[in-house]
Protein backbone atom coordinates (compact mmCIF):
# COMPACT_ATOMS: atom_id res chain seq x y z
CA UNK A 1 0.00 0.00 0.00
CA UNK A 2 1.24 3.47 -0.79
CA UNK A 3 1.74 5.19 2.50
CA UNK A 4 2.86 8.39 0.91
CA UNK A 5 3.56 9.53 -2.57
CA UNK A 6 4.92 12.81 -3.77
CA UNK A 7 3.08 12.62 -7.02
CA UNK A 8 3.44 15.38 -9.56
CA UNK A 9 6.83 16.92 -10.00
CA UNK A 10 7.24 19.54 -12.69
CA UNK A 11 10.99 19.41 -13.21
CA UNK A 12 13.80 17.16 -12.01
CA UNK A 13 17.50 17.67 -11.39
CA UNK A 14 20.28 15.52 -9.90
CA UNK A 15 19.76 16.82 -6.34
CA UNK A 16 16.05 16.04 -6.49
CA UNK A 17 16.66 12.50 -7.77
CA UNK A 18 19.14 11.94 -4.95
CA UNK A 19 16.67 13.27 -2.37
CA UNK A 20 13.80 11.17 -3.74
CA UNK A 21 15.77 7.94 -3.74
CA UNK A 22 17.20 8.49 -0.25
CA UNK A 23 13.84 9.21 1.35
CA UNK A 24 10.84 6.98 1.77
CA UNK A 25 9.23 8.07 -1.48
CA UNK A 26 7.92 5.20 -3.57
CA UNK A 27 5.77 6.75 -6.25
CA UNK A 28 6.60 9.78 -8.33
CA UNK A 29 4.25 11.46 -10.76
CA UNK A 30 6.08 13.19 -13.58
CA UNK A 31 4.73 15.82 -15.92
CA UNK A 32 4.35 14.34 -19.43
CA UNK A 33 7.05 16.66 -20.85
CA UNK A 34 9.77 15.24 -18.61
CA UNK A 35 8.46 11.67 -18.26
CA UNK A 36 10.51 10.08 -21.03
CA UNK A 37 13.73 11.75 -19.89
CA UNK A 38 13.58 10.61 -16.28
CA UNK A 39 11.42 7.48 -16.27
CA UNK A 40 14.24 4.94 -16.72
CA UNK A 41 16.51 6.75 -14.31
CA UNK A 42 13.91 6.64 -11.53
CA UNK A 43 12.91 3.05 -12.27
CA UNK A 44 16.54 1.99 -11.88
CA UNK A 45 16.34 3.34 -8.34
CA UNK A 46 13.28 1.21 -7.50
CA UNK A 47 10.81 4.04 -7.80
CA UNK A 48 7.41 3.70 -9.40
CA UNK A 49 6.65 6.43 -11.92
CA UNK A 50 3.31 7.69 -13.21
CA UNK A 51 2.88 9.88 -16.26
CA UNK A 52 0.74 12.92 -15.47
CA UNK A 53 -0.93 14.48 -18.48
CA UNK A 54 -1.18 18.23 -18.02
CA UNK A 55 -4.37 19.80 -19.44
CA UNK A 56 -5.57 23.39 -19.21
CA UNK A 57 -8.79 23.14 -21.22
CA UNK A 58 -11.73 21.17 -19.81
CA UNK A 59 -12.86 20.15 -23.33
CA UNK A 60 -9.66 18.13 -23.80
CA UNK A 61 -10.47 15.81 -20.89
CA UNK A 62 -11.59 12.56 -22.46
CA UNK A 63 -12.22 8.95 -21.47
CA UNK A 64 -9.84 7.89 -24.26
CA UNK A 65 -6.84 9.24 -22.34
CA UNK A 66 -5.22 6.45 -20.37
CA UNK A 67 -2.79 8.61 -18.38
CA UNK A 68 -3.71 10.20 -15.08
CA UNK A 69 -4.80 13.73 -15.98
CA UNK A 70 -3.83 16.89 -14.10
CA UNK A 71 -6.34 19.56 -15.01
CA UNK A 72 -5.18 23.09 -14.23
CA UNK A 73 -8.09 25.48 -14.74
CA UNK A 74 -7.23 29.09 -15.40
CA UNK A 75 -10.67 30.58 -14.79
CA UNK A 76 -13.64 30.01 -12.55
CA UNK A 77 -16.03 28.62 -15.19
CA UNK A 78 -13.52 26.15 -16.52
CA UNK A 79 -12.89 24.92 -12.98
CA UNK A 80 -16.63 24.45 -12.39
CA UNK A 81 -16.98 22.53 -15.66
CA UNK A 82 -14.02 20.33 -14.78
CA UNK A 83 -15.54 19.55 -11.41
CA UNK A 84 -18.68 18.08 -13.01
CA UNK A 85 -16.87 15.60 -15.31
CA UNK A 86 -17.31 11.96 -14.34
CA UNK A 87 -13.76 10.73 -14.85
CA UNK A 88 -10.86 9.99 -12.51
CA UNK A 89 -8.46 12.91 -12.69
CA UNK A 90 -7.29 15.73 -10.46
CA UNK A 91 -8.00 19.45 -10.46
CA UNK A 92 -4.80 21.26 -9.66
CA UNK A 93 -4.90 24.11 -7.16
CA UNK A 94 -1.84 26.33 -7.21
CA UNK A 95 -0.82 29.99 -6.85
CA UNK A 96 -2.78 30.97 -9.98
CA UNK A 97 -6.20 29.55 -9.19
CA UNK A 98 -6.53 28.95 -5.42
CA UNK A 99 -9.10 31.72 -5.11
CA UNK A 100 -11.59 29.81 -7.27
CA UNK A 101 -11.81 26.97 -4.77
CA UNK A 102 -14.99 28.12 -3.07
CA UNK A 103 -18.21 26.62 -1.68
CA UNK A 104 -19.75 26.61 -5.18
CA UNK A 105 -16.78 24.70 -6.60
CA UNK A 106 -17.05 22.00 -3.92
CA UNK A 107 -20.80 21.83 -4.56
CA UNK A 108 -20.11 21.30 -8.29
CA UNK A 109 -17.53 18.60 -7.55
CA UNK A 110 -19.98 16.54 -5.52
CA UNK A 111 -21.59 15.44 -8.79
CA UNK A 112 -18.32 14.57 -10.55
CA UNK A 113 -15.51 12.18 -9.71
CA UNK A 114 -12.48 14.46 -9.83
CA UNK A 115 -10.20 14.98 -6.83
CA UNK A 116 -8.63 18.23 -5.70
CA UNK A 117 -4.85 18.24 -5.96
CA UNK A 118 -3.38 20.93 -3.75
CA UNK A 119 0.16 22.05 -4.45
CA UNK A 120 2.39 22.68 -1.45
CA UNK A 121 4.91 24.71 -3.48
CA UNK A 122 3.20 28.14 -3.04
CA UNK A 123 3.54 27.74 0.74
CA UNK A 124 7.24 28.46 0.36
CA UNK A 125 6.55 31.93 -0.98
CA UNK A 126 6.78 34.40 1.94
CA UNK A 127 4.17 36.78 0.51
CA UNK A 128 1.73 34.18 -0.70
CA UNK A 129 2.02 31.85 2.30
CA UNK A 130 -0.63 33.27 4.71
CA UNK A 131 -3.28 33.90 2.08
CA UNK A 132 -2.74 30.61 0.25
CA UNK A 133 -2.76 28.62 3.49
CA UNK A 134 -5.98 30.30 4.66
CA UNK A 135 -7.72 29.55 1.38
CA UNK A 136 -6.64 25.93 1.05
CA UNK A 137 -7.41 25.25 4.72
CA UNK A 138 -10.98 26.37 4.16
CA UNK A 139 -11.23 24.61 0.81
CA UNK A 140 -9.83 21.28 2.05
CA UNK A 141 -12.02 21.16 5.13
CA UNK A 142 -15.11 22.00 3.08
CA UNK A 143 -14.18 19.31 0.51
CA UNK A 144 -13.67 16.63 3.14
CA UNK A 145 -17.04 17.39 4.73
CA UNK A 146 -18.69 17.04 1.32
CA UNK A 147 -16.92 13.80 0.44
CA UNK A 148 -14.62 15.23 -2.22
CA UNK A 149 -11.16 13.61 -2.26
CA UNK A 150 -8.22 15.90 -1.59
CA UNK A 151 -4.59 15.07 -2.18
CA UNK A 152 -1.37 16.94 -1.53
CA UNK A 153 1.50 17.26 -4.00
CA UNK A 154 4.81 19.09 -4.01
CA UNK A 155 4.69 20.25 -7.63
CA UNK A 156 8.40 20.82 -7.21
CA UNK A 157 10.59 22.35 -9.91
CA UNK A 158 13.83 22.33 -7.92
CA UNK A 159 15.28 20.67 -4.83
CA UNK A 160 14.19 23.43 -2.44
CA UNK A 161 10.56 22.93 -3.40
CA UNK A 162 10.41 19.23 -2.55
CA UNK A 163 8.52 18.27 0.59
CA UNK A 164 9.71 15.22 2.51
CA UNK A 165 7.13 12.56 3.50
CA UNK A 166 7.22 13.76 7.12
CA UNK A 167 6.70 17.40 6.09
CA UNK A 168 3.70 16.41 3.99
CA UNK A 169 2.14 14.67 6.97
CA UNK A 170 2.74 17.70 9.20
CA UNK A 171 1.17 19.90 6.57
CA UNK A 172 -1.78 17.58 6.32
CA UNK A 173 -2.21 17.64 10.09
CA UNK A 174 -2.16 21.44 10.09
CA UNK A 175 -4.59 21.84 7.20
CA UNK A 176 -7.17 19.22 8.17
CA UNK A 177 -6.74 19.24 11.94
CA UNK A 178 -6.53 15.43 12.00
CA UNK A 179 -3.89 12.92 11.04
CA UNK A 180 -4.23 10.44 8.21
CA UNK A 181 -7.13 12.07 6.40
CA UNK A 182 -5.21 12.79 3.21
CA UNK A 183 -2.29 10.37 3.46
CA UNK A 184 -4.22 7.49 1.93
CA UNK A 185 -6.10 9.58 -0.63
CA UNK A 186 -3.41 9.06 -3.25
CA UNK A 187 -3.86 5.32 -2.91
CA UNK A 188 -7.64 5.62 -3.34
CA UNK A 189 -7.22 7.84 -6.36
CA UNK A 190 -4.71 5.54 -8.07
CA UNK A 191 -6.87 2.53 -7.37
CA UNK A 192 -9.88 4.26 -8.90
CA UNK A 193 -7.81 5.31 -11.89
CA UNK A 194 -6.15 1.97 -12.56
CA UNK A 195 -6.83 -0.88 -10.17
CA UNK A 196 -4.60 -3.28 -12.10
CA UNK A 197 -1.67 -0.90 -11.85
CA UNK A 198 -2.02 -0.67 -8.05
CA UNK A 199 -2.30 -4.46 -7.69
CA UNK A 200 0.88 -4.93 -9.73
CA UNK A 201 2.60 -2.32 -7.62
CA UNK A 202 1.69 -4.14 -4.39
CA UNK A 203 2.91 -7.49 -5.78
CA UNK A 204 6.17 -5.82 -6.89
CA UNK A 205 6.65 -4.41 -3.38
CA UNK A 206 5.92 -7.78 -1.71
CA UNK A 207 8.46 -9.53 -3.92
CA UNK A 208 11.13 -7.03 -2.95
CA UNK A 209 10.48 -7.36 0.79
Amino acid sequence: MIRWADLYIERLDENMIEFISRNRIRVVGLKDEIFDTYNNLLRERDLITIKRLYIEDADQISHKIKDLIVFRPLDKNSMRRGGKIRLTFTILIDEENYEYCSDEQIEAMRGGSASLEILARPLLDEELFPRYLRYIKYCVRKALINGVDVILSSGARRFEELFSPGSMRLLERYITGVRGSLTYSWYTLLERWNKKFVEEMIIEKREKT
Binding site: N15, L124, F159, S164, G166, S167, L170, R173, Y174
Partner: protein, 115 residues
Amino acid sequence: MKKERKPRKRYLVFKLYTIGGSPDFETFRSFLDDYMRRFLGLSGLIDSRVKLIRYDQETRYGIIRIISTDIDTVLLAFTRIRDIKDTPASFIPLRLTGNLSRALKYIKRYEKRIQ
Protein backbone atom coordinates in the same frame (compact mmCIF):
# COMPACT_ATOMS: atom_id res chain seq x y z
CA MET B 1 -16.31 25.80 29.43
CA LYS B 2 -13.60 24.09 27.41
CA LYS B 3 -10.93 22.55 29.59
CA GLU B 4 -7.48 23.94 28.82
CA ARG B 5 -4.90 21.29 28.02
CA LYS B 6 -1.81 21.16 30.15
CA PRO B 7 1.30 21.99 28.10
CA ARG B 8 3.60 18.98 27.87
CA LYS B 9 7.04 18.57 26.39
CA ARG B 10 7.35 16.72 23.10
CA TYR B 11 10.51 15.68 21.29
CA LEU B 12 10.79 15.74 17.52
CA VAL B 13 13.39 13.47 15.94
CA PHE B 14 14.48 14.87 12.60
CA LYS B 15 17.04 14.56 9.85
CA LEU B 16 18.56 17.45 8.00
CA TYR B 17 19.20 16.85 4.32
CA THR B 18 21.64 19.39 2.92
CA ILE B 19 23.44 19.91 -0.35
CA GLY B 20 27.04 20.62 0.45
CA GLY B 21 28.27 20.92 4.03
CA SER B 22 26.25 20.24 7.13
CA PRO B 23 25.97 23.07 9.73
CA ASP B 24 27.43 22.55 13.20
CA PHE B 25 25.30 22.57 16.37
CA GLU B 26 25.83 26.28 17.16
CA THR B 27 25.11 27.44 13.60
CA PHE B 28 21.96 25.37 13.42
CA ARG B 29 20.79 26.57 16.84
CA SER B 30 21.26 30.24 15.98
CA PHE B 31 19.54 29.70 12.63
CA LEU B 32 16.60 27.99 14.34
CA ASP B 33 16.25 30.87 16.86
CA ASP B 34 16.22 33.48 14.09
CA TYR B 35 13.89 31.46 11.92
CA MET B 36 11.36 30.78 14.68
CA ARG B 37 11.44 34.45 15.74
CA ARG B 38 10.65 35.44 12.18
CA PHE B 39 7.88 32.88 11.79
CA LEU B 40 6.16 33.09 15.18
CA GLY B 41 7.04 36.62 16.27
CA LEU B 42 8.50 37.48 19.67
CA SER B 43 5.41 36.62 21.71
CA GLY B 44 4.93 33.36 19.83
CA LEU B 45 8.52 32.41 20.53
CA ILE B 46 7.98 32.80 24.30
CA ASP B 47 5.04 30.39 24.30
CA SER B 48 6.48 27.81 21.93
CA ARG B 49 9.71 27.21 23.95
CA VAL B 50 11.43 25.56 20.97
CA LYS B 51 14.87 24.22 21.85
CA LEU B 52 17.44 22.29 19.87
CA ILE B 53 18.47 19.46 22.20
CA ARG B 54 20.84 17.47 20.04
CA TYR B 55 22.26 17.66 16.56
CA ASP B 56 25.00 15.51 15.09
CA GLN B 57 26.86 17.21 12.27
CA GLU B 58 28.04 13.91 10.80
CA THR B 59 24.86 11.82 10.79
CA ARG B 60 22.61 14.94 10.54
CA TYR B 61 20.07 13.48 12.97
CA GLY B 62 18.78 15.69 15.76
CA ILE B 63 16.14 16.31 18.42
CA ILE B 64 14.06 19.43 18.97
CA ARG B 65 11.94 20.03 22.06
CA ILE B 66 8.52 21.59 21.53
CA ILE B 67 5.44 22.19 23.66
CA SER B 68 2.29 20.17 22.97
CA THR B 69 -0.11 23.14 22.91
CA ASP B 70 1.67 24.86 19.99
CA ILE B 71 2.60 21.71 18.18
CA ASP B 72 0.79 22.36 14.86
CA THR B 73 2.10 25.88 14.30
CA VAL B 74 5.66 24.99 15.25
CA LEU B 75 5.69 21.90 13.08
CA LEU B 76 4.31 23.92 10.17
CA ALA B 77 7.24 26.29 10.59
CA PHE B 78 9.68 23.37 10.34
CA THR B 79 8.18 22.15 7.08
CA ARG B 80 9.13 25.48 5.44
CA ILE B 81 12.87 25.28 6.20
CA ARG B 82 14.61 25.30 2.84
CA ASP B 83 18.04 26.76 3.45
CA ILE B 84 20.37 27.19 6.40
CA LYS B 85 22.67 30.18 6.05
CA ASP B 86 22.54 29.98 2.23
CA THR B 87 23.02 26.20 2.13
CA PRO B 88 20.07 24.42 0.46
CA ALA B 89 18.52 22.15 3.06
CA SER B 90 15.43 20.08 3.69
CA PHE B 91 14.08 19.35 7.15
CA ILE B 92 12.77 15.80 7.46
CA PRO B 93 10.62 15.13 10.54
CA LEU B 94 10.83 11.46 11.54
CA ARG B 95 9.25 10.85 14.97
CA LEU B 96 7.44 12.73 17.69
CA THR B 97 7.89 11.28 21.16
CA GLY B 98 6.79 12.09 24.69
CA ASN B 99 10.15 11.67 26.37
CA LEU B 100 13.76 12.32 25.58
CA SER B 101 15.00 8.79 26.22
CA ARG B 102 12.67 7.37 23.59
CA ALA B 103 13.76 10.04 21.10
CA LEU B 104 17.38 9.07 21.75
CA LYS B 105 16.48 5.44 21.24
CA TYR B 106 15.05 6.23 17.80
CA ILE B 107 18.13 8.26 16.89
CA LYS B 108 20.38 5.34 17.83
CA ARG B 109 18.26 3.06 15.66
CA TYR B 110 18.47 5.42 12.67
CA GLU B 111 22.21 5.92 13.09
CA LYS B 112 22.75 2.17 13.23
CA ARG B 113 21.15 1.90 9.78
CA ILE B 114 23.76 4.27 8.34
CA GLN B 115 26.63 2.19 9.79
